[in-house]
């Protein structure tokens, strides 16, 4: 996107709390923003490196749990006579630690699972997410298991001149999510347009060829996994401090599926695709809520996924882009007008 329309969009998004006073609508938008961040991070792996990671929710959950635990504090019996007591730390420390720990998980998983490709890779990532979920469920001393971590403190910022600011209300949380959203977008944009981004695409398109011209495949895949996991961890941290409760259900496989649907619908391997997908599938449930029960909604999403793959395999953003190009270039040859439609 060129500079001025982008700035206009940011201004528009920033102005929303000024004219949307309905707290419930803001809540929907905050959730949408959190999912947009997660979907963008998944797109880095799925869209740019072409690796379908179906364990992505693990990074989201690890970020949420880490951030919550560090800001709540915990004690852990390491040996019969030794108890590690971890004092509560400020929320921003927790949030940053969540990002770091999720990134570390990304590194380990990347190192392990990029030994295999295709279907095997998919299954390793799914297995990993399930193991993490079972640990969260069973390591009750640390995670409280199914009793969940409650009363997670909201984000608190010490601003010079304004004193301490605690994000209890919807509006500040909206701006927080918006800022993290824009930062994630900027990081990913920067990355995919760098040498590393070209390497990602090269090995998505033809891995042996990329390797033969000197692209260190594993290194770049692991790099993508770390950054992707860290951003997903940031989304998880935002979620934990906004919803204020985290339980093992955060690792449900269905959330990964939601992210995949968002990325595929919007357009994988495009910068805006996951955002568009997140907006559609963040708001659609609220629109459908009046007319359809959740089960019916999910059946509809399942059908949408099948229809998208059949009729719009590149997703909405590339299709819209080529439609727009065909429309504005009516003077040119009409041959490519149907391309991507």
């Amino acid at each position: 996107m060129s500079r001025w329309p982008a700035l206009a969009w940011v201004m528009f998004l920033a102005s929303i709390p000024l004219w949307v006073r309905n707290q419930y609508y803001l809540h929907v938008l905050i959730n949408t923003g959190i999912f947009a961040i997660a979907a963008m991070s998944l797109n880095l792996l799925l869209g740019y490196t072409g690796q379908l990671s179906l364990g992505h929710v693990a990074f989201f959950g690890v970020g949420a749990y880490t951030s919550a635990l560090i800001s709540l504090g915990f004690d852990l019996q390491l040996a019969p006579s030794y108890i590690l007591v971890f004092e509560p730390r400020p929320v921003w420390v927790g949030f940053l630690s969540g990002i770091a720990v999720a990134g570390m998980f990304g590194w380990v998983i990347g190192k392990l699972s990029f030994r295999v490709r295709g279907a095997y890779f998919v299954i390793v990532t799914v297995s990993f997410a399930e193991v993490v979920k079972l640990v969260a469920l069973n390591w009750v001393d640390l995670t409280e298991g199914p009793m969940a971590l409650n009363n997670i403190p909201p984000v608190t910022l010490a601003l010079p001149g304004l004193g301490e600011l605690t994000f209890w209300k919807k509006e500040p949380n909206y701006y927080l999510v918006l800022v993290v959203c824009l930062l994630s977008y900027a990081v990913i944009r920067r990355l995919v347009r760098s040498r590393a981004g070209r390497a990602f695409v090269a090995l998505r398109e033809n891995e042996p060829l990329a390797e033969s011209v000197g692209v260190d495949v594993t290194r770049f895949l692991v790099l993508a996994a770390v950054i992707s996991a860290a951003i997903a961890g940031a989304a998880g941290g935002l979620y934990a401090h906004y919803i204020k409760i985290v339980d093992p259900d955060i690792f449900l496989f269905i959330y990964t599926v939601v992210m995949v649907i968002m990325v595929v619908t919007g357009g994988k391997g495009t910068l805006l695709g996951p955002v568009v997908g997140a907006v559609i599938f963040g708001i659609l449930p609220e629109v459908l809520r009046e007319v359809a029960r959740p089960e019916v909604q999910w059946i509809i999403y399942g059908f949408i996924m099948v229809l998208i793959v059949f009729f719009l395999p590149d997703g909405i953003v590339p299709a819209a882009a080529s439609w727009w190009k065909a429309r504005t270039a009516t003077a040119g040859p009409s041959g490519d007008a149907r391309e991507g439609a």
């Binding site: 295999v116 390793v124 799914v126 999910w298 399942g302 996924m305 099948v306 059949f310």
Partner: protein
């Protein structure tokens, strides 16, 4: 030691049905190169069909078992014809996304139809277990193991000894040459998927009465089937059989000796370990069907 024998027996009962799941998935995986995310839904479909026929229609338990398998075969053939045939030759990721979509739609249709409440299936076997020396096992479990072993043997016969099985193996080895030799590849794909789906429905129909039936029961089953496929090697029939039995026993042992909370983690730890040390599976010389 007594406890060990008990865990071993329970593990084999579980493992027999796991093997059915694994065989179905490994054939679909091997012959069609499709990661079948609807496999778990066929499993819960089988269980719900038995429940529906026994509870709502007051049908005979054994007839219900047979009908559940037959309906699984029909449903599988329908999925293959409507979703997978148009996508033949598409990348594995594309078909995977379609199968994920189908899986979500099917699971929620079940949720809508039967609600999320877990249901128990009534079966005609006596409650009192059979006691052999130190171990005791309920009659329904013996029945489940026997039927599972029978189905495994039948599948083995089909793949090894019949013309159809030969055509399936030929398709796996070299699709183009098989087509040149007069094998109808479209038909082989439909039959493979229907057959694998029937086995998954059978596994659900068998384990449904042992445990309880609920809409998301297929999720873990599908993931376990993936574990078995990886353990045995893709497209490897014997590997899937042994892999299923091993997974059942490992789960029971893990639940008995380590922690019952981590029972379901065993399969995933196996996947991760196998892929790290022997990515082609435990029982393979080369990837093959049969």
């Amino acid at each position: 030691m007594d406890q060990f024998l008990q865990h071993l027996l329970n593990g084999l009962v579980l493992g027999g049905s796991y093997a059915l799941l694994g065989i179905g998935l490994t054939l679909i995986f091997g012959i069609m190169n499709v990661v079948n995310f609807t496999h778990g839904e066929l499993y819960s479909f089988g269980a719900y069909m038995v429940f529906g026929i026994v509870a709502a229609l007051h049908g005979n338990f054994f007839v219900a078992l047979f009908l559940a398998m037959a309906l699984g075969v029909i449903l599988g053939a329908g999925i293959e014809r409507s979703l997978l045939r148009p996508l033949r030759g598409a990348s594995i990721d594309t078909t995977m996304l379609v199968m994920i979509g189908a899986w979500i739609a099917m699971q929620n249709a079940e949720q809508l139809l039967w609600t999320g409440v877990a249901k128990a299936i009534r079966h005609p076997f006596p409650e009192a277990p059979l006691v052999i020396g130190p171990v005791s096992v309920s009659w329904i479990r013996i029945f489940v193991l026997a039927v599972a072993l029978l189905l495994i043997a039948g599948s083995h016969f089909l793949i090894r000894r019949t013309r159809l099985g030969t055509a399936m193996r030929a398709t796996f080895q070299d699709r183009e040459t098989a087509a040149l030799m007069g094998v109808n590849i479209d038909a082989i794909h439909t039959i493979t998927f229907a057959f694998g789906s029937g086995l998954a429905a059978a596994a659900g129909a068998l384990l449904g009465p042992v445990f309880v039936v609920f809409p998301t029961m297929g999720d873990l089953a599908a993931l376990k089937a993936f574990a078995i496929v990886i353990l045995g090697g893709m497209g490897n029939f014997m590997g899937a059989t042994l892999g299923g039995l091993i997974l059942g026993v490992v789960e029971e042992m893990g639940a008995g000796y380590i922690s019952s909370g981590y029972r379901d983690a065993m399969g995933f730890l196996i996947i991760i370990a196998v892929l790290l040390f022997r990515p082609t599976g435990l029982f393979v010389r080369a990837e093959r069907v049969g």
